[in-house]
């Protein structure tokens, strides 16, 4: 299951600034909440197709808000979200193009694993018999095919998260949005899930935006890290992450990984200091 077809990042789609490669862009997006908090101010971000982009920053920097606005959960106060080459539905959202993984597994406790994963297809009018092969395929890809009849309460935290990922992927979205998905998991489970997400990304060519507050997680997963600052939430630095090594357990202990985490940590530290100073 973990045999990697693409072994190096160089083989994966690299960052490209050509306009045709942009999947979604945030243009001067600001978000003012009704309680007066300015969560985002003039944030501009172009997300390339096939990119694994991490949004990294201290809590309160608006990274989750940015993710939700991209998903269409809540409108930006000013600015816009553009999908240059996607078909939009009547609400101006790309139809079926977004998978979202929340911080909690957010499964329906009354429904089996199968029914939980079926949900996005069911809401789009796909019949159960039609959906079955796709559901079993995506459950197999997260290693849970044998558990399709289980209820969420029978699963461990990591397994619930896998179901949540399967549900996000079942519609074959172009963009997978993940909002600190593994923050509540133990380190070993988290590493295993990181490996799996990386594999799914490589195998499917999907674009991922991954919100995290972990330097190590973002450095391990991403080929681009966008560090954000708080007060107001903005992009502080945009770091391409290149490596010739395979991102596996050996990469975690490599010199190159250490150097990357150093760079990212420094950028994050600066972002935190600037945010604290409120400059």
């Amino acid at each position: 299951m973990l045999s990697l077809t693409d072994t190096t990042l160089a083989a994966a789609p690299a960052t490209d600034t050509a306009p045709g490669r942009v999947l979604v862009s945030m243009r001067n997006v600001s978000k003012l909440f009704s309680n007066g908090t300015l969560a985002l101010k003039d944030m501009t971000l172009n997300v390339q197709r096939g990119e694994f982009l991490s949004l990294l920053g201290p809590s309160g920097c608006g990274k989750s808000t940015a993710l939700r606005i991209i998903a269409g959960l809540g409108e930006p106060s000013t600015g816009s979200i553009d999908w240059p080459s996607s078909q939009l539905d009547s609400r101006g959202k790309p139809k079926g193009d977004i998978g979202f993984v929340f911080q909690e597994p957010t499964l329906m406790p009354w429904a089996t694993v199968f029914s939980n994963v079926y949900l996005p297809l069911r809401l789009n009018g796909v019949s159960k018999s039609e959906a079955r092969p796709r559901i079993m395929e995506v459950l197999t890809s997260v290693g849970l095919a044998d558990f399709h009849k289980a209820y969420p309460r029978e699963l461990s935290g990591g397994m619930k998260m896998r179901v949540s990922i399967a549900r996000a992927l079942v519609t074959k979205p172009k963009l997978l949005l993940m909002d600190e998905p593994f923050a509540a998991l133990d380190e070993i489970t988290r590493q295993k899930l990181n490996d799996d997400v990386l594999r799914l990304w490589r195998d499917s060519g999907i674009t991922v935006i991954f919100v995290t507050h972990s330097v190590f997680e973002s450095a391990f997963l991403s080929n681009r890290i966008v560090v954000m600052r708080a007060r107001p939430g903005q992009v502080y630095s945009d770091l391409p992450i290149k490596t010739s090594l395979t991102r596996d357990s050996h990469y975690r202990t490599s010199e190159e990984y250490r150097a990357t985490t150093d760079t990212v940590s420094r950028a994050l530290q600066e972002a935190i200091e600037i945010g604290a100073a409120g400059k």
Partner: protein, 288 residues
Amino acid sequence: MSDAATAIKSSEAGTDSAVAIVASRTSMTERILRVVIPVAMVALAIGLWQLHITVNNVPHYIMPAPLTVVTTLFTDWPTLYPSLLVTLRVTLLALALALIGGVGLAIILVQSKWIELAIFPFAVILQVTPMIAIAPLLIIYIKDPQTVLLTCAFIVAFFPILSNMVAGLKSVDHNLLNLFELNGASRWQTLIYLKLPSSLPYFAAALRIGGGLSLIAAVVAEFAVGSAGRGSGLAFRLLESGYRLNYPRLYAALVLLMITGVAIFALTSLISWLLLHRWHESALKREN
């Protein structure tokens, strides 16, 4: 459960898959004791009652012995049975109407806060007005005593069902609502696939409360309204037997009411178990 347990062998399920919970089996002794203890306690209480009557030679117009009550239950069955049917009919019909009305109105109320603001005062007024005080009024406006009983039982059972369902429909996981919105779910789909299932625990509570209340209300309303001899329910039999100092029959009617109440409780508990036992904490055994 057994699927999950055997599937742990799957090597692809991740490092944490072995954490899957396997149901513990209740031991045979515990299962037997669960039935024996409550039955034995009730039998003991009845035995003490019989003993008290026999030893102290209590006359049956003060308090009948359990054996006398049982005998009366059989001899007076032709009188009691039709009354039982009347009370049962009022109770179950009122509960059914209260469930349909309560759930239906709750669904309408949660659609918009304006509808809720407009309708909720009436529901509250109806709830806080003592039913026993308005029952004599109702008999003036509604001529048929049976309909009055039904109306009273309905009013009493309706409000707890309504307020439980409103609370249930509102306490939906916000992230699940977000998920439905992301997938372009219609209002109807959100109701059917998310709001109604997630309010099932509230519905189960409403059902149990409503079931008990509609029986109590059916009896109390009959005390207040009476039934003029025709189509009399068990409450009328209670009053009648009291006036005639026919205490064995009064006790027999009481026993029938108790059995009805217990049966309704058992039935509503069974329904709520069927609805929840696969997933909800309230119906699950603790694993530690």
